[in-house]
């Protein structure tokens, strides 16, 4: 396949070192890290042989943290400082969180994202999640014996922009280079698709700890296309636990529980749910702090009854997703089950009824997402996977602007393939108006009040004109990670103002830098060493990519003078990489970047032309 080599700079050179890359499933209840080893995707275990890392972080008075099973074991003893399921709070304000009262945390209302007061100070969900990511990074590096070049981190397909941004920030804070944010159901399909060489329409039903997603995917000749996604970002296995929890309170007629009791009872509720996946009844025994003993027997039937509405709640998004994709349930060739909660027999039966077929459960529903993410990470890191496949992902929720009267004007409709950009023109409504307020929202509802507010900014310096004369073009750009940036400019008189915003729930670069500095407060040298190491990784990557590109297309696309120029910049960067001068490495990298812009453009051109030529040849063959 000569055609494909062109698009993969850096991959076609002589056998290079295998680049260490991982896939991370940052889950609500559990998190996992996986990698491709000898061509097979495997979950990496900790020293005790555990694959799952409970998504639990405990903060201690001395400022240290414990993560995973250790933290989970102490959750009942130290409920205020032991944060479970922090993912539910990512990119969320205090008013967005349901069931606040059943949680033992001391929430602090903060602009944009809620925070939690712990023994070690006030922590944001981003910081809490970064502790989990740090633990997984350490596990991977210990297990693989080297530094990671990057990670693919999965997010629920239904995550909005603020939640995606928060996830990326957490990764940066953990010192992980994010190769891509990947939708969880898509990751699951990759794991199934490549393993089973599947083709056709697939549904991925993902009922995790705290979120429900349904995705309709189309798999054709190595192309994974997300036709539609839907779901509920506040529905998951935890809700099943909560139903049991409430049932216990009701049955045992207990009302006054302290925080330790609440945490303990939630844990027992979860155990009962897990037992019911394999048995027809479960015992629940809890000794409360008052000394009172709760002893109950929960039958499968009662459990099914009390959770029937939750199961049904998952079917409405299924229906909507099918409608969006323009498909009937019968057209779905397979249903992939993801998330521990899909072990519940009643869930499997309901999904089977809805799609008219037995769902696929042959991969471990807890691991399948991380396995798929690892496969994607392996490809993105530049380790040839053997198969050529391409992932075309979509915007999960419509992106728009507030217009007059509190109405939403959609700019980018949901399920648009990313990366994508749309521009729309607006005008002033008052004579002499020199500024315009731009409010960016995400959601499907008509009223702005019912959508999520992502960012507000003002475009100033509009020349005074009569109402309706100014032409303000607002451009939305969504990148390959599904992250949005918005810009606006006035075109009417040739005077251009320009502003770009990041969503207000995301952390600014300054904030991430501050948090990083906090965690390295007493080690300034570490910071410098780290910056240098990161700059060198970037520089080396560019050297690799440029060398491969030169070798492949240099003679054809560059004349001798141009080639000499690029080679000179390349040598300059290589020299800088041999030294330890951070500024010099950055400067040389930037110069080579600038110096290869034209070469890159010609290569891209050639790729597009080649694609069309290839297509015509294929057509001839048919």
């Amino acid at each position: 396949m000569a055609l494909l080599q062109i698009s993969e700079p850096g991959l076609s050179t002589a056998p290079h070192q295998h680049r260490l890359a991982v896939g991370i499933d940052l889950g609500t209840t559990n998190s996992l890290v996986a990698t491709v080893r000898n061509g097979v995707s495997v979950v990496l275990n900790d020293a005790h042989g555990h694959g799952l890392l409970p998504s639990v972080v405990r903060y201690l008075v001395d400022g240290s943290t414990s993560v995973g099973y250790v933290a989970q074991a102490q959750a009942a003893e130290d409920p205020h400082n032991t944060i479970i399921s922090a993912k539910r709070f990512m990119g969320r304000g205090i008013k967005d969180i349901p069931d606040l009262s059943t949680m033992p945390y001391k929430f602090v209302d903060a602009p944009g994202m809620v925070q939690i007061r712990t023994a070690a100070g006030v922590k944001s969900p981003v910081e809490i999640s970064s502790e989990i990511l740090k633990a997984l990074k350490a596990r991977a590096e210990a297990s693989l014996g080297g530094e990671l070049v990057g990670a693919v981190i999965t997010v629920p397909a239904y995550f909005d922009d603020a939640q995606r941004q928060a996830t990326k920030d957490a990764a940066r804070l953990a010192g992980l280079n994010v190769l891509r944010l990947l939708n969880e159901p898509t990751a699951a399909a990759i794991a199934y698709g490549l393993d089973n060489a599947a083709e056709g329409i697939y549904a991925v039903y993902d009922l995790g700890g705290g979120t429900f997603d349904i995705s309709i995917l189309k798999l054709t000749r190595g192309v994974f296309e997300v036709l539609a996604t839907n779901g509920d970002s506040a529905l998951g296995g935890d809700d099943f636990d909560r139903r049991i929890y409430c049932w216990v309170l009701e049955q045992a007629k207990v009302h006054t529980l302290d925080d330790r009791d609440k945490t303990l009872l939630m844990a027992r509720a979860r155990e009962a749910k897990e037992t019911l996946s394999e048995h027809t009844s479960a015992h629940i025994t809890v000794v409360l702090s008052t000394g009172e003993v709760v002893n109950l027997n929960l039958s499968e039937e009662t459990f099914n009854e009390m959770t029937a509405s939750l199961v049904n709640k998952t079917l409405l998004p299924c229906r909507k997703a099918l409608r969006d994709a323009g498909l009937a349930a019968e057209e779905v060739k397979g249903v992939v089950m993801v998330g521990g909660s899909t072990r519940i027999p009643r869930v499997q039966a309901a999904v089977g009824d809805f799609f008219g077929q037995t769902p696929l459960t042959n991969l471990d529903p807890d691991k399948v997402v991380s396995l798929g993410a690892a496969i994607q990470a392996n490809v993105l890191a530049g380790n040839k996977a053997g198969e050529d496949w391409l992932l075309l992902d979509v915007v999960p929720l419509s992106l728009g602007l507030e217009t007059m009267g509190g109405l939403t004007e959609k700019i980018i409709p949901r399920n648009a393939t990313i990366p994508t950009a749309r521009a729309q023109e607006f005008t002033t409504y008052k004579d002499g108006q020199t500024a315009m307020s731009i409010h960016v929202v995400q959601g499907e509802r008509e009223l702005v009040a019912d959508c999520r507010s992502l960012a507000r900014f003002e475009l100033r310096g509009i020349p005074p004109m009569v109402a309706g004369a100014a032409r303000i073009r607002v451009t939305f750009q969504v990148d390959a990670d599904g992250l949005l940036s918005v810009s606006a400019r006035e075109l009417g008189t040739g005077v251009e103002s320009h502003i770009a915003v990041k969503p207000s729930y995301g952390l600014g670069d300054d904030e991430v830098a501050r948090m990083l500095q906090d965690s390295y407060a007493h080690a300034q040298d570490d910071m410098t060493a780290r910056n240098l190491a990161e700059a060198k990784v970037d520089g080396r990557r560019l050297v690799d990519a440029t060398e491969a590109a030169l070798k492949e297309n240099g003679p054809a696309l560059l004349n001798e003078a141009e080639r000499t120029q690029v080679e000179k910049l390349l040598t300059g960067l290589q020299a800088a990489l041999d030294g330890n001068d951070l500024a010099a490495v950055k400067r040389a990298t930037e110069m080579l970047n600038q110096g290869t812009v034209e070469f890159a453009a010609r290569r891209m051109d050639m790729s597009v032309k080649q694609a069309l030529t290839g297509q015509r040849l294929d057509a001839l063959k048919l």
Binding site: S7, G382, L390, R541, T596
Partner: protein
């Protein structure tokens, strides 16, 4: 040198007509995507990453426009300098408007009465109407090159599509 401003049809090496070989469009789209998608450049230099993003954005826009009959027709008219959906372009035959008002009322009643049978009938009627308009568009644009007529047909199709979407959300309410 490939030109960023070339029209969507040229980008996929397809003839600029309303009638479209959908399979060929899909194939060309995928072939180009498999060369230029950002995933193919996750490990490349900055310049190539940026270009890959710009090109993919451009190709996605072109593909979305061409694959939907409504957008494709609208785009073809734009290439002729006609902005069919402009706020100033509102002329619409009276009988068409009356018919649509009648259907809107039927829809409102069916919604209230949760009458799925009426919704089914309305959906079928509207789909047929949309199909007729699409056939007309093909004739008006590809054969007669009668762009003003196509422009009116397109505005009618917009009405029909909107009502169809409303029928769709009515189903959701009932479910």
């Amino acid at each position: 040198m490939l030109d960023f401003s070339r029209d969507h049809f040229a980008l996929f090496d397809l003839p600029a007509s309303y009638a479209l070989d959908g399979a060929r469009l899909d194939q060309a789209y995928r072939d180009i995507q498999s060369e230029i998608h950002p995933d193919k450049f996750a490990h490349a230099g900055e310049a190539e990453q940026r270009l890959s993003m710009q090109w993919t954005t451009r190709v996605n826009e072109a593909y979305q426009t061409l694959r939907r009959p409504f957008d494709r027709a609208n785009y073809l008219l734009q290439l002729q300098g006609i902005h069919a959906m402009d706020a100033n372009n509102t002329s619409m035959p009276m009988d068409f408007l009356m018919q649509h008002m009648e259907w809107s009322e039927e829809l409102a009643d069916a919604k209230k009465a949760q009458d799925v049978a009426v919704l089914d009938r309305l959906e079928k009627t509207l789909r047929n109407e949309a199909r007729d308009f699409q056939a007309q568009l093909a004739e008006q644009i590809d054969q007669h090159h009668d762009y003003p007529a196509a422009s009116e047909t397109l505005r009618k199709l917009r009405f029909t599509d909107k009502l169809l979407a409303e029928v769709g959300s009515a189903y959701e309410l009932i479910e």
